[in-house]
């Protein structure tokens, strides 16, 4: 059973198609990134998963439960951290979390609430009114609210947008430990390095369509590939390798590198031309380059 299944999901707002026939699965235990530029439809897709919005076509399941026909089971299985910073100004942090537990049918959840507060660095604010918290602190409470019922699937919609470095680190350490404990994690983020370091699978969305869905390694080995900056003691770049040359910079030659085996051939050609290597720097393409490349394709 997959943790999440999107099955030909589409969503129209009037004439506008926000999601166009999206189908994919998130497997149990995945740390999954949903990437895409603003307006791609990430939040809309998550809203459908959460039951906050209804798909125009298609089916969505969480842990096997349909989000509309089996909505109560589906909602028990998922914890959502919405993108917008929202809070109820009437209550303290602890009250907020007690209520959230109660809505999920949990009565004596104090020990787990204390755990979450501790892990998110909220213990000292437990009895503070929500109104008095900073934006970053409110965001932490939203994360805590999504976790009160220990959901097998946790979805975070841009949880670190506009949030301080400290929170990002605390948050990711905690989320990573939850993933290691078996929770499935889905996140959308604009910080691509977060997706790159944390996630094992990545989906890319653009204008409501699914552009790519791959393991991180696959996606990283695609597209832009690697480049190498080769510096020679003296001499010109040999004509035989002219086709690989991207540009000259920093007294060296930047070349395309399809894979590491190609390097052997290059070094041999250089030797045969009587050239001596002074320095070589290989740059791994990062997700950002791939992302930009795919989105502009």
């Amino acid at each position: 059973m997959s943790a999440i299944t999107f099955d030909h999901v589409s969503k129209q707002f009037g004439d506008f198609t926000a999601l166009n026939d999206i189908s994919f699965r998130v497997e149990e235990g995945d740390f999954f990134a949903l990437l895409g530029p603003n307006g791609a439809g990430k939040t809309t897709l998550i809203s459908i998963l959460a039951g906050l919005s209804k798909a125009s076509q298609g089916h969505t399941r969480v842990m096997g439960y349909d989000v509309s026909s089996d909505y109560r089971q589906a909602r028990r299985a998922v914890g959502i951290v919405p993108q917008e910073l929202v809070f109820d100004p009437f209550f303290t942090v602890r009250e907020t979390l007690r209520f959230q537990s109660g809505y999920f049918g949990l009565k004596n959840n104090g020990a787990w609430i204390d755990d979450i507060l501790e892990n998110l660095g909220l213990t000292s604010k437990a009895d503070a009114n929500m109104r008095t918290l900073s934006g970053g602190m409110k965001r932490r409470v939203m994360v805590a609210q999504a976790l009160v019922h220990k959901p097998p699937v946790i979805v975070l919609d841009e949880p670190t947008a506009g949030v301080d470095v400290e929170l990002r680190q605390t948050l990711w350490a905690f989320i990573r430990s939850l993933n290691q404990a078996g929770h499935t994690i889905v996140l959308t983020t604009h910080y691509l390095e977060e997706a790159q370091t944390l996630c094992n699978r990545i989906a890319m969305l653009k204008q409501g369509r699914l552009l790519a869905l791959e393991n991180k390694e696959q996606i990283m080995s695609r597209g832009a590939a690697r480049t190498a900056l080769i510096k020679l003691t003296t001499g010109q770049w040999p004509a035989a390798l002219q086709s690989l040359l991207l540009r000259e910079r920093d007294n060296g030659f930047e070349i395309k590198l399809a894979d590491c085996n190609a390097l052997e051939h290059i070094l041999m050609t250089l030797r045969q031309a009587g050239l001596t290597l002074k320095d070589i720097e290989i740059a791994q393409a990062d997700l950002e380059d791939i992302f930009v490349q795919m989105m502009s394709a």
């Binding site: 959460a50 209804k54 109560r72 929202v86 009437f90 209520f99 809505y103 999920f104």
Partner: protein
């Protein structure tokens, strides 16, 4: 059950934490009405035989305060959480449609009753209406608050902005409550307006409620009970279907 109870309790706490505005203020307002109207009119009108005008006015003001506050509780809670976005926190959990409906409604009824009780206690300074049929009093208090709680829920779901809600309140709720016989017996109205009043469900709430105090009323209390009970059923069915369809809440 825990889900329902939590939402109910949260809604109670929500108004109780700002009780100065949600409970004390409406009691004070009712008291002002009572002070002014009973001073001005006490010697001039006697709507029911053997009942002083002040005593007559007390149940009317109680009911008016209860209705307005029951309406205010659901409508303001819903529109506020819709506008600020914090409604997601009750939309994400597995609360059933019925839990959602009944928690908001019952909490609003509680606020209505608390305000009503407050008005009646402070009114004791002025006069003490008799309590002829307490059960009728209780039934009409509950049904009246229930109707307005549900109407407030419908208004809160429908409205997208605070001023739309204010329009609902000023152009529907206020006229209906003022033209229902809070301050007078409809027998003192010209025949045409008496007829019109018979189409106002709030008239039946107040008339039945008053019957519980004095054992006298403009129409038969059983008729009032039927009208009020039927109105509640219709409105509840409407509100329930709005919640079920996710109208303006789940897009």
């Amino acid at each position: 059950m825990t889900g329902f109870y939590t939402l109910f309790y949260k809604e109670i706490l929500r108004f109780w934490k700002v009780g100065f505005q949600t409970v004390a203020a409406p009691i004070l307002t009712a008291l002002m009405y009572l002070l002014v109207f009973s001073q001005v009119l006490a010697d001039r009108v006697q709507p029911l035989a053997g009942v002083s005008y002040t005593a007559f006015l007390i149940p009317g003001l109680m009911m008016m305060s209860m209705l307005q506050n029951a309406f205010a509780n659901t409508s303001s809670s819903i529109i506020q959480s819709k506008v600020t976005g914090s409604m997601v926190f009750v939309l994400l959990p597995p609360l059933s449609h019925f839990e959602f409906f009944s928690a908001y409604t019952l909490a609003a009824i509680v606020r209505g009753l608390v305000v009503g009780l407050g008005v009646s206690l402070t009114a004791l300074i002025f006069d003490m209406p008799s309590l002829k049929y307490p059960l009728w009093i209780l039934i009409f208090a509950l049904l009246g608050c229930g109707i307005m709680a549900v109407l407030g829920m419908i208004a809160g779901i429908w409205a997208e902005k605070f001023d739309q809600l204010a329009a609902f309140q000023n152009f529907l709720i206020m006229p209906l409550t003022f033209l229902s016989g809070v301050f007078y017996s409809i027998h003192s109205l010209p025949p045409f307006w008496q007829q019109v009043s018979h189409f106002n469900p709030v008239f039946y709430m107040i008339d039945g409620f008053r019957y519980g105090f004095f054992g006298q009323s403009d129409v038969n209390p059983w008729l009032s009970l039927s009208v009020v009970g039927f109105s509640l059923l219709i409105l509840a069915a409407m509100a329930f279907s709005l919640i079920k369809s996710g109208y303006k809440i789940r897009r």
